[in-house]
Amino acid sequence: MSEHVLPGSIDETIALLARAAYVAERPLATAVFLALRMRRPLFLEGEAGVGKTEVAKVLAAGLDCELVRLQCYEGLDTAAAVYDWNYPRQMVEIRLAEAAGEHNRAAIARDIYDERFLIERPLLRALRTSKLDAPSVLLIDELDRADEPFEAYLLEVLSDFQISIPELGTLRAEVPPVVVITSNRTREIHDAVKRRCLYHWVDYPSAATELAILARKAPEASVQLSQQVVAFVQRLRQAELFKVPGIAETLDWTRALVTLDALVLNPDTVNDTLGALLKYQDDIAKIRGSEAAAILEEVNTRIGILRDG
């Protein structure tokens, strides 16, 4: 039986995340630690592919709690996100009551709004499964895809962790779940939501962190390959690209190279596997060929210097 003990310091948080193979930089670990201890939601904003969703999954694994995931899209409403009534069952219940000879229509009409006809959707499920010894982890993914009415609804949930169902009453969580909200910033989230959360902008990792991540997540790659890959991607992030590769793309590329049994990078390998790193044709056309070769040469020189000097 594992303990659901929250980490006691920032270092313990880093260790907790590292046990689940997530290498976090110190500012992110600080924000996570504060969110856990102060029982506030954590708002993670950043470009696609930097590991925002991964944090929630890793937290759930590390704390041994259930992960409840709500994927947001435009037009998400309470019926899909919070709860819904099981209308067919309610209709059947009415017919059964009539067939059994129950004549008090008003009583039937009251009985059909009972908890056994309530379908739980993610938000309600997260509040209900959050117990004292095992708080659940609620991941609200890509909140910027949902629209303003849904954000307004979320305010009540995030501040008091309760849901009001008109027919039943108010349902409260025994203990507030750990809430992680992610956003890709395609739309500005309203300040009222951000005010209730602890904010953190997840940036691209530094070279040292990225190397550590590769060592944990793609250990089958050789050391030299990892160094070359990290240096190449770090250099690529400074070029003017439409979509700069994130850490997820780096991992994809490394695994692709390992699958092709590449021990070192050479221009041909890079040109062949560029599709794993860059996803826009304009970017690929810009980098493929001479530009990739030039970057590779620069990378090799720098690594050679580091190894020698």
């Binding site: 600080t30 409403d77 009534w85 059909i112 500005e188 300040d191 951000k194 005010r195 439409f242």
Partner: protein, 394 residues
């Protein structure tokens, strides 16, 4: 607490609740080193990516050297000109510096006198990036009334889009089980009335790219007035101005008062009535803004005369990419309404094929004209009705 006050002056909204939160967070975290302190305060005080630079600078100056703060205050008190701040702290951004010195400096800073721009030739463009400030005359009540009337009557050439939400609708095609059961409960359980619903519709987001270069000088004031009215009535609107640079002015247009909003916009934009570099500005838009603003089937409205300094170099690809990224691209050109005009400039010829709806106009003297141009050519597919602003409550 003093740090919170400094942040507030620098423009980062920090309320008293956040100060309390910060104190609680610092107690919980038990920080020992500077980086932890920085990270804790950042996670509590910040709400946006853009605030981070100002916050970083303010933090480093505030917590590193309190004596520096004293020295800056001491230097500024007897001075009259605001330029001294720039000499003393060349590394700080003006906003961080404003947050850290007393407000006396702000009030006594002398602005350069507003320059009158006199450009007689409106069909030319200039290579020089003239960074100038413009002074707009305040709007008269007659103009304000005209603007309101004009905006209220525009039939936007954008079709409403279906959303995933439902609205009660007596003639809808779907049955609404929830409302039906609730109605049955209210009626006592004897009858089950079948209430219906249908999908809600709403207008798509609007992104306006407005040219403010020298060749459009005549229309700048009117367009700003129009953009302010649109930003406050249409709903989901984003406005960007471009000349030689691209500036995002939507936050300042939210001010209800037209003159205040335009005054804030003039302070924000450096390149009024300068040259035009449409290709470069569209490229920057694609790189930095398109993925943020064009996310939900947005409609892009381009207000420009198409006269480009770079003679259309690179403009074709940028317009093609813009057309692919948005739902529809509307180009309103205030200079092409002449009957015998042939599109000779290379910029206009490069842009024309990539536009979904081309609205030439000529002699746009007033907002009413502009509204009429937008309305008259609302051609929508499949007989859709163009969208009109809802009438304001009387």
């Amino acid at each position: 607490m003093h740090f919170a006050r400094a942040l507030r002056v620098a423009g980062i909204p920090v309320g008293p609740a956040k100060v309390l939160d910060a104190l609680g967070a610092l107690q919980v975290a038990g920080v020992e080193c500077r980086e932890d302190w920085h990270a804790v305060l950042a996670s509590v005080f910040l709400t946006r990516r853009e605030q981070r630079e100002v916050f970083d600078q303010a933090f480093h100056v505030f917590w590193r050297d309190p004596a520096l703060l004293q020295r800056m205050l001491h230097l500024l008190l007897p001075k009259v000109h605001g330029r001294a701040t720039r000499n003393v702290t060349p590394m700080l951004s003006p906003r961080a510096a404003a947050g850290l010195v007393s407000r006396v400096a702000e009030h006594t800073a002398v602005n350069e006198p507003a320059q009158e721009v006199e450009v007689e030739s409106t069909l030319t463009f200039s290579a020089a990036e003239r960074l100038q400030r413009l002074d707009f005359a305040a709007m008269t009540p007659a103009e304000l009334a005209e603007a309101k009337a004009a905006i209220a009557h525009i039939a936007w050439p954008v079709a409403e889009v279906k959303t995933r939400r439902y609205r009660p609708d007596a003639r809808g095609t779907q049955i609404d089980p929830r409302r039906s059961l609730a109605a049955m409960r209210r009626a006592g359980g004897d009858l089950l009335p079948l209430l219906r619903r249908s999908r809600a519709r709403r207008p798509p987001p609007l992104v306006v790219l407005c040219d403010i270069s020298g060749s459009m000088h005549r229309y700048t004031r009117m367009f700003l007035h129009f953009l302010h009215a649109v930003a406050n009535t249409y709903g989901r609107t984003q406005v960007l101005l471009f000349g030689t640079r691209l500036t995002h002015i939507t936050p300042v247009l939210r001010d209800r008062d037209v003159d205040a909003a335009i005054a804030r916009a003039t302070r924000l934009v450096p390149d009024w009535s300068g040259g035009t570099r449409i290709g470069a500005c569209l490229h920057e838009f694609s790189l930095r803004w398109s993925r943020r603003l064009l996310a939900q089937n947005a409609v892009v409205l381009l207000l420009s005369d198409g006269l480009d300094l770079d003679a259309g170099a690179g403009l074709c690809e940028e317009m093609a990419r813009l057309q692919r990224s948005c739902h529809s691209l509307i180009w309103l050109n205030p200079l092409l309404g002449y009957r015998d005009f042939e599109a000779k400039p290379a910029g206009i010829r490069a842009m024309r094929p990539h536009v979904d709806l081309f609205l030439p106009a000529h002699n746009l003297a007033s907002l009413t004209e502009l509204a009429r141009v937008l309305t008259a050519q609302a051609r929508l597919p499949h007989g859709e009705l163009p969208w009109r602003c809802p009438a304001p409550a009387a």
